[in-house]
Symmetry: C2
Subunit: 217 residues, 2 copies
Amino acid sequence: MRDIFHEELDAINGGLVQMSLLVREAFSDATKALLTSDLALAEKVIAADAAIDDIYHELDARTINLIARQQPVATDLRTLVSSLRISADLERMGDLAHHIAKTARMRYPNCAVPDVLTNIITAMDKEGSGISEKMTTVIQYGDTVRALEVDKDDDEMDRLHRELIATLLGDSWDHGIETAIDMTLLGRYYERFSDHAVSIAHRIYFVVTGEYAVEKS
Amino acid sequence: MRDIFHEELDAINGGLVQMSLLVREAFSDATKALLTSDLALAEKVIAADAAIDDIYHELDARTINLIARQQPVATDLRTLVSSLRISADLERMGDLAHHIAKTARMRYPNCAVPDVLTNIITAMDKEGSGISEKMTTVIQYGDTVRALEVDKDDDEMDRLHRELIATLLGDSWDHGIETAIDMTLLGRYYERFSDHAVSIAHRIYFVVTGEYAVEKS
């Protein structure tokens, strides 16, 4: 039977899982809004960010309250401190989805992404979505195998990011400076989204195993 | 006389002050390296990031250890949890200075910043440096007046950032796509640096007053 402390710990973990599902949905919806110039969907993502922020603040209060009441030590305390860090990363991932959606809205009714970059953004969306799905499993089950798998996905995201920049710099780029600026920032949002997911997965790996996941430099 | 707990709390605060001074130095040095194509200085900033990360990890361990040993509640616990968040923001500010320095190194022996943007980057450096100086005072003394002042500085940083983007988009821009990409990312690093400083100042305002600083939307 679980004691009250571990029930509360499970509830906080459930909150993190809920946040990570919302973040993934916001991210995928933001890309869809971006690629299809879907203003309503962009507005939905922009509005949904407040819900993610609400869970973040609620989890924060709950975690601090639990530390104050139960005064955990060792692994339990490290788990709770990690939860505080993970919720901050998830909140930031929500912000990045929000930025993507705002770019879609800013360029509406035009599409911010020129045809020549549609495939790369689609591939970055697929990677980001895959990474955040694995990250959710890592949060939910403490899955240390998947916690290390995200590194390879992040490498692929970085490769796509370099491909995006190379396209902007190529001789055939004829979409001008404004679109290049948009795409530079969008590329950064996707790349950072992936970085935060890796950071979360590594953090849980550390809590579960007591060892650092090998960081890429 | 201070008890051991409050001595430890002061020591952690001292660590945050130390981090914030290093971050500010890294930021100013990075800008100087960027504007004067000073490779040695860029390398110095890049190498110094490890020292900032070390303090970050040391403060983390120390803070968690203090929570475990002393089991603080109420304001003391909130202060410690805030310290964890503030050190993470400072670590990220260090990363941003590191990114600026890496841009300087990547373009060496050329200068990444074209003459037409020197004044704006100089002004962004001045704002960022001013904000991080105020932020240090806020961390050190819990100065709630300065904690709110940073909002105005951040507004000025945002204005400079818009001016930078407008310059890239102006008819007279003749430095091509690569420089526009560099400047877009640099602009983002300066702007984010300022955002983190505001976030730190607001967090301390909350710990000291129990009220949220009014956030800009």
